[in-house]
Amino acid sequence: MIRAKGLYKQFGRHAVLNGADFVAERKKITYIFGTSGGGKSTLLKILIGALKPDSGEVWYDTMNITQLSGRDLDPFRRKIGMLFQHGALLNSLTVGENIALPIREHTPLDENIIKIMIKMKLELVGLRDFEDLLPGQLSGGMKKRVALARAIALDPEVVFFDEPTSGLDPIVASVITKLIADLNRLLGLTCVVVAHAVDEAMRIADKIVILYMGRVLAEGSPAEIRASADPLVQQFITGSPDGPISFHASSKDFREDLLVDR
């Protein structure tokens, strides 16, 4: 179980996270939504221990991630996998070597077994024929699938996904969404997904967390979120341009800004 308590993070004078609390249950799929620039990526970086919050804590079972740094984080990191937004595959290594990387690093397994494992993981994401290609030779969607194969190479307990379907065509996006659901159902993985796509979340999520202005606006099952009477929540799930959430990110009055030098 992952529990975030009162996370606060400020960049310059802008508070990106402003006391966010939520829980991601074991073996469940938790989707985290939010407006662009609403602190989702920051939250994800804090959850994997790559960034320290200004205050607040993240607990993974009995481990307080926020108090660990450097090599002390390694035991936690061996239990997690992360799918980065653009894949973050190592461009100098082939697809197969990318997947083999964590296996070679953390297990004493023989090369022949590693080769079989690579094929198994690639089969899971449907790219068994692409083992010897370099990431630069793959499309965006393929890169993400290879990155997913790498994220699950060591059979982690939790996989974090940073916008797994953004920038993909609808078919590949559905394939990835189905993969997330399958991983959760077949392998019992805990999935924490940061995303924009409401429809896919409503389809496969066990729990949805909506971040707004650095805080958790609503939290619950897709049915509970859909039934929420809060107009902010409704605007999120319907994606309506009209509503209490403005698309203007500026804090200053427009008229004041225009007339300031006159």
């Binding site: 790559a50 984080l73 980065f84 973050a88 190592l90 990387l101 070679r104 690093e105």
Partner: protein, 262 residues
């Protein structure tokens, strides 16, 4: 006036911070190198010889061409004056000493800093920007061990060897010019060179080259690891890497020459 003091003060503090970070990186590199050299599997994965090949072998044509031309230019330059006073027989010794003690190590290091140091920064900086380094950390793989150690060992082996070869090539360049254009008999040229050149001249050059290789790797990798943002920062960091390593090489060269022969 106040601004100048502020600027100089800030620049000095940044310089000290960089120096301290580079020192930490150096220590971590030594620790991680020890990890690699005590683990046969990791040693095989590090592909040290491939690095020597990439750094050393591929720099060879450029370094040798420059060294040969340098030897010729040096001979032309000093023969101009020595011819007047009938001191042509001093040329072989002078060229050999100048090349092995000073010009060879300096010119080779400057060429390698421009060719290899810049490539280290650009490569590692791009990896930082595309989250590849964060991905390594998330997989509990130490980025210093994965990216810095092999470059460190590769350059530590390559640069002294390149320097030595550059020295011999420059002396050969001088020999060709001296024996064909200045009328110094080949056997006299060789005897004069061997009479003057001592073992200290050669090994002081190798010590210099070893120090320069540490400087080039540390500055190159450090500037890459601290890149934040995008392509523009990678470019800026690469430029600053070449500028600072060039400066560091020249300053250290002066100090070492003074220490060895002052």
């Amino acid at each position: 006036m106040k601004n100048i003091f502020g600027y100089v003060g800030r620049a000095f503090i940044t310089f000290l911070q960089d120096l301290s970070s580079i020192w930490h990186l150096f220590r971590e590199t030594i620790v991680q190198a020890a990890v690699i050299f005590t683990d046969r599997k990791k040693l095989r994965q590090a592909r040290l010889l491939a690095q020597v090949d990439e750094i050393g072998t591929l720099s060879l044509p450029l370094v040798l061409t420059v060294a040969a031309l340098l030897g010729i230019a040096l001979t032309v330059l000093i023969s101009f004056e020595l011819k007047e006073v009938g001191g042509l027989s001093y040329i072989p010794g002078f060229v050999a000493v100048a090349v092995f003690r000073e010009m060879g190590p300096l010119i080779t290091a400057l060429i390698v800093a421009g060719r290899i140091g810049a490539a280290f920064t650009a490569r590692i900086g791009t990896m930082k920007v595309s989250e590849e380094i964060l991905a390594l950390e998330t997989m509990a793989i130490n980025p210093v061990r994965f990216l810095v150690v092999q470059r460190f060992v590769g350059l530590l082996l390559s640069l002294p060897a390149l320097t030595l070869l550059a020295g011999f090539t420059a002396v050969f360049g001088g020999f060709v010019y001296g024996s064909t254009r200045l009328g110094i008999r080949p056997d006299t040229y060789i005897r004069e060179t061997l009479d003057v050149l001592t073992f200290t001249d050669v090994y002081s050059g190798i010590i210099k080259a070893s120090v320069f290789s540490v400087v080039i790797v540390m500055i190159g990798c450090y500037r890459g690891l601290v890149v934040e943002g995008g392509a523009e920062q990678v470019g800026r960091s690469t430029m600053s890497s070449v500028v600072s390593s060039t400066l560091a090489i020249i300053v250290l060269d002066t100090l070492m020459t003074a220490a060895f022969y002052g």
